[in-house]
C-alpha cells in the first residue's frame, strides 16, 4: 500500500484516481489543485508517490516536477498526461519523471503503475 498525493486541477480526474487507487488498497493522503499547492503538500506530507497532472494553472506539472525533484531527487512522481503532449513528456523525462499515466484513465494501467512505484 502506498501513501499518495494527487495533484490535478480537475475534480473529475482527482475523483477518478482516488476511487481507483483506494479500491486497490492505496491511501490518498491529500489532494492539490495546482503545482504550487502540490509542491507545498509534498514538502509537508512526504508521500510515497505523487501523481502530477501536466496541464494545470498557476504552476504546471512540469515546473512542479522540477521543484519536487530539487527537494527530493529520490521522490517517485507519476506524470498524468493527455495524448498529444509528446514534447512535454520529453521535458518531464529529462526532469526525472518516474512514470506516465494517460487520460482517459484505464484502471489496470493505473494500478500497475502505482504498484510498481510502491514496491
Amino acid at each position: 500500500m502506498a501513501k499518495i498525493l494527487i495533484v490535478d486541477d480537475s475534480r473529475t480526474s482527482r475523483k477518478m484516481l482516488r476511487n481507483i487507487l483506494e479500491s486497490n488498497g492505496h491511501e490518498i493522503i491529500d489532494e492539490a489543485v495546482n503545482g504550487q499547492e502540490g509542491v507545498q503538500k509534498f514538502q509537508a506530507l512526504k508521500p510515497d508517490v505523487v501523481t502530477l497532472d501536466i496541464t494545470m494553472p498557476v504552476v504546471d506539472g512540469v515546473e512542479a516536477l522540477k521543484m519536487i525533484k530539487a527537494l527530493d531527487p529520490e521522490s517517485k512522481v507519476v506524470m498524468v498526461t493527455a495524448a498529444g503532449q509528446k514534447s512535454k513528456m520529453i521535458e518531464c523525462i529529462k526532469a526525472g519523471a518516474n512514470e506516465f499515466l494517460t487520460k482517459p484513465f484505464e484502471q489496470q494501467e493505473i494500478v500497475d503503475v502505482i504498484n510498481k512505484m510502491s514496491n
Binding site: D9, S10, T12, P57, A82, A83, S87, K103, P104
Partner: protein, 295 residues
C-alpha cells in the same frame, strides 16, 4: 449513425412517430453486437485482447478493427468477415421499419429520395450514408472550410461515439459569428496554431457528456459538471494535438476554462458542430486561428 439521422427525418416529416422511432432504435440495439464481442464469440480474440483494444480506442483515434490488426490479434480478412457478421446498421433499421409494419420498402425509398433532395446530397453521398460506416457518414456533415477544422470535428464526434454515447448523431456543421448558449467548457491550444475547442449547451444538455464521462449523476450544469466536460474536451484535444504532432505541428494544451452562466459566444466565423444525444442538442465549438469571446 444514419439510422438516427434518417429516423429523425421520418419523424419530422410525419412519416412515423417519435415513439415508433424509439421502438425501432431499441430493437436495433438488441441485434447489433459490438465487433469485439463477435470476435471473442468466434474465438478469434480473447476477452483480455478485446478489452485491451477497447481501452486503446479511448486514447487513439482508430477503429477497433484497425487496432486489432495492428496488434496482430486479427487479420484484415478476419475484420472484414466480422464486419459482415455485425451487419449494416442502416439496413437493420430499414428491416425493422418494414417488419413492424410502419413503412413499406417503396415508402422508405421515397422518403430517402426526399431526404436527399432536401439536403442536396449526391448519389455518391447517399452511398456513403447508407453504407452504415460512421466515418463515411460523418464526413458529409463536416464544415469542409479547412482541413484542420474537419480533422478536429471528426476526432470530436468519433471520440464522442466511443466514450460518451454510441447512439449520438450529428447535424451539418456551420460557421457563424455568434451563438446563443447557457454554458460552455473549452480549452485553448497554443503553438503553431491558436485554437479554441469545447462543448456548449442550452439548459442542462451538457449533462449528456458530464454524467457518463465522470460516472456521476449531476442534476445541473454546475462547475463540477463543466469540469467533467472539460476533461472530455481535453481527451479530444489531446488526440488532435497528437495527430498534428505526427505531422510536425507543435501544439500546447492550456488548462480548460468554464462558463457556468453564459449567454453568447461571439467571434469571427467559428465552427458550430451540432451533436444530438438523448433528445438533447449540444454544440462542439471550434475556432482555429481566430479569437472567440464568451459573454
Amino acid at each position: 449513425m444514419f439510422d438516427q439521422i434518417f429516423g429523425n427525418y421520418l419523424v419530422k416529416t410525419g412519416r412515423i412517430t417519435k415513439e415508433q422511432l424509439s421502438d425501432v432504435i431499441e430493437s436495433e440495439s438488441k441485434v447489433r453486437v459490438k465487433l469485439g464481442l463477435i470476435a471473442v464469440a468466434e474465438k478469434l480474440m480473447t476477452t483480455e485482447q478485446a478489452d485491451e483494444v477497447n481501452n486503446l480506442q479511448a486514447i487513439r483515434d482508430r477503429r477497433f478493427g484497425d487496432i486489432a490488426v495492428e496488434k496482430g490479434y486479427l487479420t484484415e480478412a478476419q475484420v472484414g468477415s466480422l464486419l459482415k457478421k455485425q451487419g449494416n446498421i442502416y439496413m437493420i433499421f430499414v428491416q425493422n421499419l418494414i417488419d413492424k409494419g410502419l413503412m413499406t420498402l417503396e415508402q422508405v425509398d421515397e422518403a430517402l429520395k426526399s431526404y436527399q433532395d432536401q439536403q442536396g446530397f449526391t448519389h455518391s453521398d447517399m452511398d456513403d450514408l447508407v453504407s452504415g460506416d460512421v466515418d463515411r457518414t460523418v464526413r458529409l456533415f463536416l464544415p469542409s472550410n479547412t482541413e484542420l477544422c474537419d480533422k478536429h470535428c471528426g476526432i470530436a464526434i468519433r471520440t464522442f461515439l466511443r466514450i460518451i454515447n454510441s447512439g449520438a448523431y450529428v447535424s451539418k456543421a456551420y460557421l457563424t459569428d455568434t451563438l446563443k448558449i447557457d454554458n460552455f467548457a473549452m480549452q485553448q491550444l497554443a503553438g503553431d496554431h491558436n485554437i479554441y475547442a469545447g462543448f456548449a449547451g442550452i439548459g442542462n444538455s451538457l449533462l449528456t457528456i458530464a454524467n457518463p464521462f465522470a460516472d456521476e449523476e449531476f442534476e445541473t450544469v454546475d462547475l463540477d459538471a463543466l469540469d467533467a466536460v472539460g476533461e472530455f474536451t481535453n481527451c479530444i484535444n489531446g488526440l488532435f494535438a497528437s495527430e498534428l504532432g505526427n505531422e510536425g505541428v507543435d501544439m500546447d494544451m492550456l488548462p480548460p476554462a468554464f462558463y457556468e452562466k453564459a449567454s453568447r459566444i461571439t467571434g469571427n466565423q467559428f465552427c458550430v458542430f451540432p451533436i444530438h444525444v438523448e433528445e438533447q442538442e449540444i454544440f462542439f465549438i471550434l475556432a482555429i486561428d481566430s479569437i472567440i469571446s464568451v459573454n
